[in-house]
């Protein structure tokens, strides 16, 4: 697995959302992107999934240009996104949500069952709630379900958009425990976008700081100075 983004720009009308982004994710790597609201983090992930049109630049996945592909083909290739705001299907049961996550491998029933067992091992509480409607879960549970659902297709690269948004601190820790497990025990490559800088940096191998649509800093977490990040967010030195 290798994702390489070259000189990516996204413009909508007169609005520039992303400008000349260069970014890579290698096999087994967890890459974090942090930055304040409106910096373009979600746009970046949407562009990778084909939910938004790219104005210029290239998105290379395993050395193949995927810019023009429809979203469902990108999912078939092994990309999966846990979208911001979770977007679970509220009127489908937990099990049905998971089955939809396995939509691209639906022909292989055995594989689907294997994946269900895999995510249920990851989220044991889900076992008892398989027949509940997704909309009746709590916010934290919905977030876990969204992650579990994305894992169902056995993706090679998992994109996570604001997995901690709107969750209580204790739940945020749970979410990040899952992300660590995915990193350390499953070894899945991830591109993680979050407002929670500390958590993001803790789990990332490398990180980028995005500000107003441009990548302003890049490096290993320990190389990124706290001051720079706080300044990017709050505009003040603390």
């Amino acid at each position: 697995m290798k994702l390489e983004i070259r000189n990516l720009s996204v413009e909508i009308g007169e609005l520039t959302l992303l400008k000349d982004i260069n970014l890579t994710v290698s096999e087994g790597e967890v890459v974090g992107v942090v930055g304040p609201n409106g910096a373009g983090k979600s746009t970046l992930l949407k562009a990778i999934m084909g939910l938004i049109n790219v104005s210029s630049g290239e998105i290379m996945y395993n050395d193949k240009k995927i810019n023009g592909l429809p979203t469902y083909e990108r999912v078939e290739l092994g990309l999966a996104l846990v979208p911001e705001g979770r977007h679970i299907f509220p009127n489908l049961t937990v099990r049905e949500n998971l089955l939809l996550g396995a939509y691209v491998i639906r022909k292989d029933k055995k594989k689907v069952e294997e994946r269900i067992e895999f995510v249920l091992d990851l989220f044991p509480w889900m076992r008892e709630r398989l027949n509940q409607l997704g909309g009746n879960l709590s916010g934290g549970q919905q977030q876990m379900l969204a992650i579990a659902r994305a894992l169902m297709s056995n993706p090679k690269l998992l994109l996570l958009d604001e997995p901690s948004a709107g969750l209580a601190p204790i739940i945020v820790s749970d979410v990040y425990k899952v992300i660590s497990t995915l990193k350390n025990e499953v070894g899945i490559s991830m591109l993680l976008v979050d407002q929670n800088v500390k958590k993001t940096l803790e789990v990332s191998d490398r990180a980028y700081v995005l500000e107003r649509g441009r990548l302003v800093l890049e490096g290993r977490p320990e190389e990124l100075y706290k001051e720079d990040i706080v300044r990017a967010y709050m505009g003040v030195k603390v």
Binding site: G13, E14, L15, V34, P36, N37, G38, G135, N136, S138, G139, E162, S164, A165, G166, A168, P169, V172, D194, Q195, N196, V197, K198, K199, T200, L201, R212, K226, I229, V230, Y233, M234, G235, V236, V238
Partner: protein, 240 residues
């Protein structure tokens, strides 16, 4: 002694199981620019929707100039002087720029020269050159200014401005801040929702910070943005 133009008393608003606002209480002083800040999903826009009457609060009161307006429909509140703009501008696309601004002036009928008054408002926000243009000719910053001009057409006493800096370039943000200050100088109290912080620092006398529907801080801008709770609300947790 400052008088309050608006008091929000213990507002709670739930959507299904989600508590969007949890017993929020705050006061807006007459003539100030109050910043309302907080990360995404903290309930800022919900609060504006409750104050403007688009949402009905589950509990709590909205007191405007000493009067309980909690149960008034949105258009009645506008009549009393509570106006707002939207996060994404919502112009009337089948009307020209000038006609957009004429709408509220026509409606309230407190000006004999509707066109002239509308034109003056366009001049005030710097869009007079586009008076006869269709909306399609305006870029984002201009559409936001048009929203402002239209809201000013209702002769508000308090104007709530929802994320006007989002999506604008740095130059445009400065320009917008100056415009808002001149609106305040004309005697309108402003409640400014924003998460672009340098915009708030430039503009606000005071800020209120919401996080997950709860008010976590209130006070002077420079003090508030250095508070640990606020920083951690914004960037998750404090980095050691």
């Amino acid at each position: 002694m400052m008088t309050d133009i608006l008091n929000v008393r213990g507002i709670t608003k739930r959507f299904g199981g989600l508590v969007a606002l949890n017993k929020v209480t705050m006061d807006v002083h007459e003539g100030e620019i109050l910043g309302l800040m907080g990360p995404n999903g903290s309930g800022k826009t919900t609060l504006v929707n409750v104050i403007s009457g688009i949402y009905k609060a589950d509990s709590g009161q909205v007191i405007y100039m000493g009067r309980d307006v909690t149960n008034l429909p949105p258009h009645k509140r506008v009549e009393l002087g509570i106006a707002r703009t939207f996060q994404t501008p919502r112009p009337f696309n089948s009307l020209t720029v000038l006609e957009n601004v004429m709408m509220p002036i026509l409606h309230f009928g407190h000006e004999p020269d509707v066109r002239g008054t509308a034109y003056k408002l366009l001049e005030f926000v710097g869009l007079e050159k586009y008076a006869e243009s269709p909306i399609g000719k305006l870029n984002l910053a201009m559409r936001k200014k048009l929203d402002l001009a239209r809201a000013l057409g209702t002769k508000p006493k308090i104007l709530m401005i929802d994320e006007i800096a989002a999506g604008l370039s740095e130059g445009e943000v400065n320009d917008m801040a100056n415009l808002l200050m001149s609106i305040r100088d004309s005697g309108v109290t402003l409640l400014v929702i924003e998460h672009v912080i340098f915009f708030l620092r430039k503009l606000c006398d005071r800020v209120v910070v919401l996080d997950e529907g709860v008010k976590i801080a209130e006070g002077d801008v420079e003090e508030v943005i250095r508070m640990q709770e606020v920083i951690s609300a914004y960037i998750g947790e404090v980095i050691e």
